[in-house]
Symmetry: C2
Subunit: 329 residues, 2 copies
């Protein structure tokens, strides 16, 4: 079967609500800097009330990655669930407007489109409190076999290990992907996700996953090891391929016995780190889908991450394709 | 009666949907650069479909002014109409979060919260297509007498001359303001508004208005004169006070026989001119409410306008109070 997509992703379809915050504000609200916390409706209202005026932009980890793939000139599809409400319209528009396919039935008469309240401290770190809303209703019925079967790589975000129906959607997608010999990639998403679902994640990686994306905190949490080198040893042989991001220290790609270290691109400024990992995955997966070397994949991922941390918001604000060309990638 | 507010404003409560655009895009869509056009639901859908991914932020001319007044440390109240939907929640949140009072019943079971599709060209000019939605339902019942009577200055945006019920809301507000000896300020908003409602605006200015805000295009359109000097002559004696903005050329304040020219603050960059006039009015009205000189009013207006054009979005992103203090204002 011909592939229509470089990458098809499944994730929480979330609108980001982004505002500046002080460290004191995080303390007052009992938030752990840099983490993602799931919150219910009541907590969302209380926290939002305490936040200053905000900007709203489409977000969601895997959705951001697909937006990045499209910005690189790739063909992307995203499976996620929003409500039939104005923020759902925003989400669908932004995905289609960047040239990606948005797949998934709108939720009618239930929860509103999901939101992530993102507080960005002066150091550029983002702390996220996510009210899933309609995204929590994502289930197997939302996974269109035609989308999965037509993608070179199927990308799954670890956040979806929280809702049971979403995990069933994963199972359906991975079954379909296997049957069509598609690559399966998984992002660990967040160290708290790893803590909540360590055994399930390890089992899933062993059974299904070709490529694991993680940052240093997540990968050490997964294997409960003390340092990065021990995590690299642990992941070797576990997944065929792992790409581990380390912020300003770049990234490390583990492929069997081969280890490639990729330098970060110099960041002129760090305004908001939201989306850094998502855009790294976008660059990496797009290059991989084009059959590029692993080093090339890592460099393109680093470049895409550097663009997104220089401004507010989790998605590229310039054409990543043009940016890549100007850097010879 | 003691005043609770420096400024109370009535305007269209609108969420801005902001995206970059080329001049070619404006041509293709038949849009006049720098203008505001009212569009219906069908046109809004078509135009939005053609736009790239966007950011959403609270906007609306008079609402932006009240946000500016609050950012300056002033006490502001805003009367406007949004729907009981997620973008209405965003609007109410952003107004309250900056320390202003948001007054007005939510619209239930009718149109959605209004949106302005704003295309920003590389020269920083913004071209707006506004779908009023719930804002079109603003009427006299939304004008709380207690809010008007408690404000030193009542500020009205010319955009509200379009819907008849909103004009009736104006009449109620101006009657209440007169009865409590409050100052009444009017922004002409847009040259097309002036073309549509010239006689009504002139009659309203003669009968009710103490302070007129306009840019050069709007004031020359109002009096159908060829140049700025002729417009200054025409406005003299018509309104007690007029503040006319001229972009990089600064502003001119006409007060009886006195004319003050105020230089613009040097703009380091012009990213998006959305909100420039609104923030000029914010600085001017806040200073006037504090009993400052007209020159001081104009300088504070210019400073607030310079802040807002240096970034995307129509409202200040730093504390205007701190900015003013750092400039000795």
């Amino acid at each position: 079967m011909t592939t229509l997509y470089d990458v098809a992703a499944i994730g929480n379809a979330i609108v980001d609500v982004i505002a500046p915050a002080s460290d004191q504000f995080l303390d007052d609200q009992g938030l752990v800097k840099g983490s993602m916390m799931l919150i219910d409706d009541a907590r969302a209202i209380g926290l939002y009330d305490a936040m200053p005026p905000a900007e709203e932009m489409s977000g969601g980890s895997a959705g951001n990655t697909i937006a990045g793939v499209a910005s690189l000139g790739g063909r992307g599809a995203f499976i996620g669930k929003v409500a039939k409400d104005p923020l759902g319209d925003v989400y669908a528009h932004d995905m289609q407007a960047i040239g990606a396919v948005f797949s998934g039935e709108r939720l009618v008469g239930g929860a509103a489109t999901g939101r992530s309240l993102i507080n960005v401290t002066p150091d550029g770190e983002r702390t996220m409190c996510t009210y899933l809303g309609a995204a929590a209703e994502l289930g197997p019925a939302d996974v269109d076999p035609a989308v999965i079967e037509a993608a070179k790589i199927v990308y799954l975000e670890g956040y979806l290990f929280d809702p049971l129906e979403a995990r069933r959607a994963f199972a359906k997608a991975t079954g379909l992907a296997r049957a069509s010999s598609r690559l399966i990639a998984l992002s660990l998403s967040d160290s708290f996700v790893v803590e909540r679902h360590r055994q399930a994640l390890l089992g899933f990686i062993d059974a299904e996953v070709d490529i694991v994306f993680a940052n240093e905190t997540e990968i050490t949490a997964l294997f409960q090891v003390a340092d990065f080198d021990a995590a690299v040893k642990a992941v070797r042989g576990r997944a065929k391929l792992a790409a581990i991001t380390r912020g300003a220290m770049g990234s490390t790609i583990v492929s069997g016995d081969d280890i490639h270290h990729i330098d970060a691109f110099p960041a002129e400024k760090v305004v908001d780190t939201t989306g850094a990992g998502d855009q790294y995955a976008a660059g990496f997966l797009f290059a991989l889908a084009q059959g590029r070397s692993l080093v090339h994949c890592g460099r393109l991922g680093s470049l895409a991450a550097t663009e997104v941390i220089a401004h507010y918001g989790p998605r590229p604000q310039v054409s990543l394709r043009d940016l890549a060309l100007s850097h010879g990638l």
